[in-house]
Amino acid sequence: MSRRDEILLACEKVVAMPTCIRKAGALLDGPETDLVRLSRIIEHDPGLTANLLKVVNASDLASDRPVLTANEAMEVLESPEVLRFFISTGVAPYYVHVIAGYDQVPSQFLQHSTTVAIASRELASALGLDAPGHVFTAGLLSGIGKLLLGAYVQVDMRQILHMVFDEGLAFDRAEERMLGINHAELGGILLERWGLPDALTRVVCHHLRPDEYDGRDVVLDLVHVGNVLAKMIGVGLGADGLNYEVSPRVVERLGITSEVLDTVSAEVVVELQSLWDLFLECSDDFCSV
C-alpha cells in the first residue's frame, strides 16, 4: 500500500476534527453558556466549524440547500438546546494537545486559520468584490488537512523540510513527494467525504495551487491570497513558514497591488486584536507542548 493510500485509509476513520480541551469544555458547559458565546467560539475554530457543517449537512434540517457557514448552521439548528445536542454528539468530542510534526500547538493553528479567514474576507472588501458569504468559512477550513496529518498521521517534518531547503521545493510539493498527498488535497478529500458542499471543498483542495483548478472561483482566488497574507503577517506560523508559491495569475485576476495588500494586512491585524481571548482559551498548559 502506498503512503498516500495509508494516509487516506487512516483519515477514513476520522469522525470529527479535534479541538483543544478547554474549548470543548466551554462548549459543553451547560445552560449557562449563552448562544452568542457558543457561536463565536465555533465560527472561529476550523475543527468545530467542520464538525458542525458535517452534522448539519447530514441531517434532515438542511435538506433544501447546502449549509456553507457556521452561522447558517446555527440558524438551521434554531435553538440553543438543539445546538448543544449536536455539540455533545458530534461537534466537540475530541481534543488534541499538539499538532505533531507541524510544530504548531492548537492555539497557533487556530490563530493562523482565523487569520486566513479574516484576510480572505477583508481582501474581498478592499477590492470591492461582492464575494459570497462562505469566503470566511472556506478560509477558516483551508488548512484543516494539516490538523489531520498532525493529529492522525506520523509525519517526519525533518525530511519534508530537507526537501524544502535543500531541493528548493515548495512545502506542499515536498509533502506530496514525501507522503503522496499534500495537506490541502487531504483536507478537501476528507471534507468531501463528510458531505460538505463542493463550494467549500474545492477551495480547501486547491487553495495552495489555484491554477490547477479547472474553472473560475472568486472564493478560491481570495482564499489563495488570504492564505499568503496570513503567512506574511506571521500569526501562528508553523514550521512550513512562508514556503508556498503565489499564483501570479490570481494576483493579476484580482488586481492586487502591494498597496491593497498593505491596507488589508493592517485591517486584519486590528481585527485580530478583538479575538485574542479565543486564542488564549486554547493556549494554557493543557494545550501547549
Partner: protein, 159 residues
Amino acid sequence: MNNTHVVGISDMKLSTNPGDVIVTYSLGSCLGVTVYDPKERMGGMVHCLLPSAAAAKEKARANPFMFVNTGVAMTVRRLVDLGADKNRLIFKAAGGANMRQDRIFDTGVRNFDALMKLLERNHRQLTARDVGGTIPRTLFLYLDTGRVVVRSLGKESDL
C-alpha cells in the same frame, strides 16, 4: 522581579530592568527590531507589520508601531525619554521573510529597506541582521547583556 515581555504584532515593549527578556514570536514578513543601550542596560523591541504609514496614515496615528518608519523612531524616542543615549544605541533586526519566489508583494524586502533608509537618514548603523528567506523567526533580547537571539525551526543563534 524579572519578567518576560511578549511583543505582539504592531507592538513594542521596552524595559529598564537588566533581568528582563523581551521576545516576539512568529515573525513572517514583519520586521523585529531590537534597540539597546549597553551602558544603561535598557532596551526595547518593536514588531512592525509594514514599511511605512503612507498607505494608512490613520492607523499610524492610532498605532505607530505597526510601521517600520514610525515604530522604530518611536521606540528610540521612548528609550531616550527613559535615559538612554541616542548615540550609544545598538540596532539589530530579524524577520522580513518573503513568500517563496515572490517578487510581487515583497513585503519583507520593503520592511527591511524602510529600516535601512531610516537608519541611514539618522546616521545610525545596523549592527546585525537575520532577515529574508522563507522561514518563521522568534526574536529574543536579553536586557542584562543586550544579547539578541534568533530562534527558527528549533535552532537558536546569536545575532
